[in-house]
Subunit: 343 residues, 2 copies
Amino acid sequence: MIRIALDVMGADGGVRPLVEGAAQLSMERGETVVVLVGDDRAIRKTLASVAHDAQRIEVVHAPSAVLSTDNPAEALALMPDASILHAAKLVLSAEADVLVSAGNTGAVILAAARTFTRLPGVRRSALAAVIPTLATHGPHKDPFALMLDVGATLECSADELVGFAVMGSAYSRVVSEIARPRVGLLSNGTEPRKGTPAVVEAHAMLARSAAVDFAGNIEGLDIPRGSVDVVVCDGFVGNIVLKMFEGVADAAKTLAKDAYAARLRYKLGLMLLSQGLRRVRELTDWQAYGGAPILGFDRLVIKAHGRSNARAVRNALRVATKTVERALVPKIEEGLRAAADLR
Amino acid sequence: MIRIALDVMGADGGVRPLVEGAAQLSMERGETVVVLVGDDRAIRKTLASVAHDAQRIEVVHAPSAVLSTDNPAEALALMPDASILHAAKLVLSAEADVLVSAGNTGAVILAAARTFTRLPGVRRSALAAVIPTLATHGPHKDPFALMLDVGATLECSADELVGFAVMGSAYSRVVSEIARPRVGLLSNGTEPRKGTPAVVEAHAMLARSAAVDFAGNIEGLDIPRGSVDVVVCDGFVGNIVLKMFEGVADAAKTLAKDAYAARLRYKLGLMLLSQGLRRVRELTDWQAYGGAPILGFDRLVIKAHGRSNARAVRNALRVATKTVERALVPKIEEGLRAAADLR
């Protein structure tokens, strides 16, 4: 039986979507128990209004919340009883197997760093995210690739980039069921000598690696194309690329609306295309993919989007279940051991 | 009278589009003379087939070409008489005022670095490029912003980023005629403390600057939105962002073609939208914008795209003329002096 500690505080939509997502999961096949960590009264109020299996939901009272606008370090210093710290401690003490939160990203990473232990060979943790791609990936034809880091570690050494490649590869095997995920190193050219010194060194190490199916350097244009299953980069670049996708999607929507609104035939064209456009939009629908893993610790953490609705939360809980069932942490450890002597 | 040294060798389409672009410019109003530097025979053969004003075109024989696939440093070492070096020397000796090339980008930057002198306060040069944006910029409503660096300097110190802000601002004033260009520093968050140490330090310096209208940090989603006129970043990030635009445009085209080809009503919708889509495509049409400036030297260099057609070359020559007429280099020097004591 798998137990998930779900921090229900600090999300943009309040407690409700978190509790509803857990309630939905409790009605599905399986044995996963969700421990809701947060304001007891608000949780029980929402629970009372939704169908759920009370055998598979528990509540732990921890009402202090880090908000998305808070400075993570300051907030955690002021609130040693914050729900995210409380939830992390449940995982540390093995009362739960995995941590899920839709709260302040920085606070989730910091709480993990303070509560859990970094795996041998990991000096910095990584936040991974899915990005929409033209090509599909793996047996389930996922229309997205995994990218890491997207903001946990801004500047990375070669060792850290290699660690991200190993961890991303293991995650992709476990969650997307891709037998040998192709891993690309993001750079300013495909040649091995292209890139910053850290990227060039990481390339040389990965080229020698048996633990990772290394596709070499990839360029910016390979990202939307989806040339690889896992994109490795430092957190500064990854954050900019991830947000650029958001900006491009917004811009395309506005362009379509503004440029053609005046002309009837464009309007008609748009109407006819609307069903197709919905499919394109689904590609950028992070709600379907269940959150971003924080990798590098001896415990698992899934960060759901702050704007998650109940469906997104349920998907994050499913992904969390999968990572425990399929022993992600031991697999990451194994990959790290195999990569330890690459230097 | 302005004289442009045009390196006609090493472009993807051979000598022809370069010579044709120069021929077109010679038939326009103005006094600009273009000195074609390259294989004399090939140049004269093309010239014989196109309308041109022979008073405004000169030819200098320099047949050795650096190809786009060559390693820049190795190629220049093997060919001390390469057309790009020859063209740069014409500018050094004041036989020409500005250098334009559609050849190997690395070789153009290297030739400039070896032949010209860096301006006081500039430690590293920058390659600037235009990127399509939703918002328009300046009195001519340009649908693009300037981004630098996009590949000349992969890792940048705070001083270098500040230098790019100053140079990009001057270029935007001179070429796009924006009186006070808004300059944004690309980072992983808008707060002044967000970013790598170099970005955080550059932010503090720019915030004190009178030479630059600093808009603060911008994020990835601001790039396609077009929140600022000039985007400043290191060459590694800039190169990835620039190529991502190319990849997104390609992916959108393929998606539209593939996803709806099977369905008649989608096809009809696409047909109706085609005129509109053409307008969107124009936004990413670098041919209209005449090349990318290499900034930081006491002489001006414009790098045209390797795939430039005659129109793109003519536009690059027009931009080159403008930069000389409007005294870009003295304006950059002035900005650099004003920024010298920001530290």
